[in-house]
Symmetry: C3
Subunit: 232 residues, 3 copies
């Protein structure tokens, strides 16, 4: 049953209760109420119960590789009972084939990126790194297009704050944004930072934060496990 | 233990962790801070951990049948770990007997309407249909009083969007409202539409959306099951 | 593994997935984005997946006993799948030893205060009482410093509303604040009141609300159990 569906709108599913769908020619009233520009008749849809950075970065790469654009990125309060977000991303394109291809690619990349989502009984963490951010990451997090992207997130929030501090003390990184329960999140129990800098510095900052986060989250009594295979 | 309580304020309980209570003569300071008009000394209270459309429609019918009014409808982010809402509805009346009766009726109708709440391991869906909307549905969703009411909701959000599109492509329906994670919801992982139209057209649109939603949600690997008996 | 961590930032852990950490000399960019005043180089961090009143009151007492100040109190929508809040509290001090000591004390007090967090399969309740509120309770709930503090909270929300009414009908208490899904909470499924009054009256109001809440929450089918040992 998993991953099977006879409907034409169905593209595929993935880890974290991710589903990829598309609408070849969207109803005009729905298009208007969803604030989708008139030029997009074909829309691709990606959404998951768990994760945000992984999926946004996956869409970032999928859009780079296809003739499509990111229309909107939303981060509902979800994670299936944990303290963070899910995601809902709309992609627009000229043709149904274009958006379908973008959704297919996004699903492939989500499977890779979910390797940096770690979940324990007590909380979760997410790390992402890209050498060169594109349109989706720019739209979601204000990272200038073409710059390296570092993403560090942990719940409960105090762990996120301490590993943010550790990441930022690495040489050569520059803080762009800090998200917290009352600001920038959907009231999630997380501290999240987005940063840029020299590519190898950004990567080192992310891995430094990750190894500290593993120790701290483990202290709450259970092992944080990656959803797929860690890639950073 | 379930459904038993010796307190006078207790009316009853139901599926979806629903509880119905009333206060015969509300404390005046609490009344003011809860923005309850002075004329209502007796208030009825309905709330659930899971569901919103089912309970709002139940209160809609309960208020039609009694000398009571809807004071407020709130949709906390809840569903007991799933991606949607719970609900908290306050009903006002002249006498304790009036609000108690309205709460009793609402509990009966919730049991029926919960037949169109479907829950799987991955997500949930909710469908509601009424031939003639009343005060509660009008207050919550801006459907003109007396018009047919269609409600289509699914989580994860991409499923909600695709089945909204399917519902709206039915002939003879008119979109009233679209709710999504960043707008109209409490950051839930859903797309929800509310629509009206000719009664049989609205009903067909709801059932078309439902059969598509069943297929899509099933693709995430487990069967969506109704909470009680489907009624549409 | 529980409660063990070799990092210098680690202070300890506790019930409700609570973790206490500190940063001896916070990164300056992070400090600015988190709106932490320049005078605080050392910050203490307390956060939990479950509970808010217990932890805020614990920090209140911890700050009274040390040379520290409350910088911020946030209540993410959490409780690990239940209908309420978690918490994230930042404490500032002159020296790392001061904030570390405040975090240690807060962890001790959280263990005590969590005795008034009750969780069942259906919902949860929280009660707190202090004879003399300090800085954290004032900051979070507007109780004048030095006055008695009563806190009554229950989910699903109708139970919270009925026990609020019961508490406020006790002689000699004065309502300060009412929180509900759409106002004052992070869209939680709760009604919460904060009140003051003569100390013994406040305490009686809290225990009256608690015994009613136990009966009501029990009617949903399972026993509400305290996280640690009830203290009020």
């Amino acid at each position: 049953m998993f991953g099977k569906c006879g409907m034409t709108q169905f593209v595929g599913v993935g880890v974290c209760d991710t589903i990829g769908l598309y609408i070849a020619n969207i109803d005009d009233d729905l298009r208007k109420q969803m604030n989708i520009p008139k030029k997009f008749h074909a829309v691709g849809l990606i959404g998951s119960r768990t994760g945000a950075g992984a999926q946004i970065q996956a869409v970032d790469d999928a859009v780079k590789a296809t003739s499509t654009e990111v229309i909107s990125i939303e981060i509902p309060r979800d994670t299936k009972g944990w303290g963070g977000h899910g995601n809902f991303i709309i992609i627009g394109g000229e043709t149904p084939a274009d958006v379908k291809r973008a959704v297919e690619l996004a699903l492939e990349y989500i499977d890779i990126n979910a390797g940096e989502i770690y979940i324990s009984e007590a909380g979760h963490m997410e790390f992402q790194y890209s050498a060169r951010c594109g349109e989706a990451i720019n739209k979601a997090f204000d990272v200038p297009i073409g710059r390296p992207f570092g993403f560090v997130c942990a719940s409960p929030a105090p762990i996120g704050m301490v590993i943010a501090d550790i990441a930022l003390k690495s040489a050569g990184v520059e803080l762009i944004k800090t998200l917290r329960p009352d600001s920038g999140t959907s009231h999630s129990n997380e501290v999240i930072i987005i940063f840029t800098g020299e590519a190898s510095a950004v990567k080192t900052a992310v891995t430094d934060a990750r190894s500290a986060g593993m120790q701290l989250l483990r202290s709450l009594g259970s092992e944080p496990l990656p959803v797929t295979k860690p890639y950073i």
